[in-house]
């Protein structure tokens, strides 16, 4: 099995798990972890795909690498803002969930 395929499959697995958790979980922190795992899966698909396009010296495509570095920084800033919102929501309503998820 090639590296691109092995890690590509890991990427698909991460996307699936992260997306499910982001949509299905009630606790907002868990949803946020889901978003982050989803993002990691997308990054993994990018970087694994980059190994399919090697140059003459055998190095993978640098352009997806640059995009993923950008993505990591954007992901951490979005996570930080989301965590700040989560803490305010919890401070105000005493629960770390969205209003429509509060039954049961």
């Amino acid at each position: 099995m090639s590296l691109a395929l092995l890690y590509g499959l890991v990427g698909v697995g991460l996307v699936a798990m992260g997306l499910y958790a982001a949509l299905a979980a009630r606790h907002l922190l868990r949803r946020l972890l889901g978003f982050n795992v989803l993002g990691a899966g997308v990054f993994m698909l990018f970087i694994a795909h980059a190994t399919r396009a090697v140059d003459a010296a055998g190095r993978p495509d640098p352009v997806p690498h640059a995009l993923v570095i950008t993505g990591i920084v954007v992901a951490v800033s979005a996570t930080a803002l989301a965590l700040a919102l989560l803490r305010r929501l919890h401070a105000r309503h005493g629960r770390p969930t969205l209003p429509e998820d509060r039954e049961g």
Partner: protein, 306 residues
């Protein structure tokens, strides 16, 4: 490929999937967060395996330092009651069946695509390498970030700035009452902070020709700032100096881009001879600004603190 290497990759792949699932499905959210932090560590190893050391450095600096710090800080602030969750938080119920089905469908489609892709495909390597001489740096990833696709990076710093503004417009949080830090923590900061500054600067400088760059350096500096904050809490209010530093990276980037436009090259089109200098200027401003903004995201605004 040798069998040791394959065994390593296989073990890493299984571990990544298992950790990600435990990070999402553990009932105890503290456990989930620790598992997410470990997941980040292993992700850095995966980037290495895929020949992306620049990405691995960014992941190591952000994943091991800042992301974990942010998550643990939030757990502490929402307290024990806030952390409590259902016993089986992701259990498949009838309401979730649709979501699960859609996710499985998406995964199946992605797997089909992966299996259909040929092992070698054309990419942008050739183009990136062909222009490398004229880009002002010799690391193709840095060339992409700061020359070929500099507008992406400009906007990314803009996103970071927006996140900081978002945190600043929220109401202030109560300050956590902390005991005086024990002496060993001060020793730790006294050693790690200068080293983080040195290594951060080194990563910035080395990024021109080897893996490294402004983000990696900035994230490392920010982790040093977070440690300092934990040892001696300080407020990063909205004084003009802090505001100036937060905007500085974006502003320098934008001004250099506009200057290139006035000089006739087009927005962010550097003349080949001077590209290296402009990139270094932008990266230095960006690194300091990124570091400050990441620390602001951790420190936030606290009530009654300066």
């Amino acid at each position: 490929m040798a069998s040791e290497v394959q065994a390593f990759d296989l073990l890493l792949a299984v571990l990544l999937l298992w950790l990600a699932w435990r990070a999402l499905a553990s009932a105890d959210l503290f456990k989930a967060v620790v598992q997410y932090i470990v997941f980040g560590l292993l992700l850095a190893l995966a980037w290495i395996r895929l020949g992306a050391p620049d990405v691995a450095l960014a992941e190591a600096a952000i994943g091991a330092g800042l992301a974990g710090a942010l998550l643990l800080d939030t757990l502490a602030r929402i307290g024990r009651a806030g952390v409590r969750d259902e016993a089986r938080p992701l259990r498949l119920t009838r309401r979730r069946a649709g979501v699960a089905l859609a996710v499985v469908g998406l995964a199946a489609a992605l797997v089909a695509v992966l299996l259909a892709l040929p092992p070698a495909m054309p990419g942008l390597s050739a183009e990136a390498m062909a222009q490398l001489e004229r880009s002002g740096v010799s690391n193709p990833v840095t060339a992409t970030l700061l020359n070929y696709r500099a507008h992406d990076t400009l906007l990314e710093i803009g996103v970071l700035l927006l996140a900081v503004l978002g945190v600043w417009v929220l109401d202030a949080e109560p300050r956590l009452d902390q005991a005086e830090a024990p002496a060993p923590l001060h020793w730790l900061v006294r050693v790690l902070l200068p080293l983080a500054v040195v290594v951060g600067g080194y990563l910035l400088w080395v990024g021109a020709h080897a893996p490294g760059g402004a983000f990696q350096g900035g994230a490392l500096l920010a982790a040093g700032g977070v440690l300092l904050h934990l040892a001696r809490p300080f407020a990063l209010g909205s004084g003009w100096l802090v505001r100036l530093a937060a905007v500085g990276g974006f502003a320098v980037f934008l001004l250099v881009g506009l200057a290139m436009l006035l000089l006739g090259g087009g927005f962010l089109h550097f003349p080949p001879g001077q590209a290296g200098t402009w990139i270094l200027l932008i990266e230095t401003a960006a690194m300091l600004s990124i570091a400050l903004m990441l620390v602001v995201l951790f420190v936030g605004r606290s009530r009654g603190a300066g």
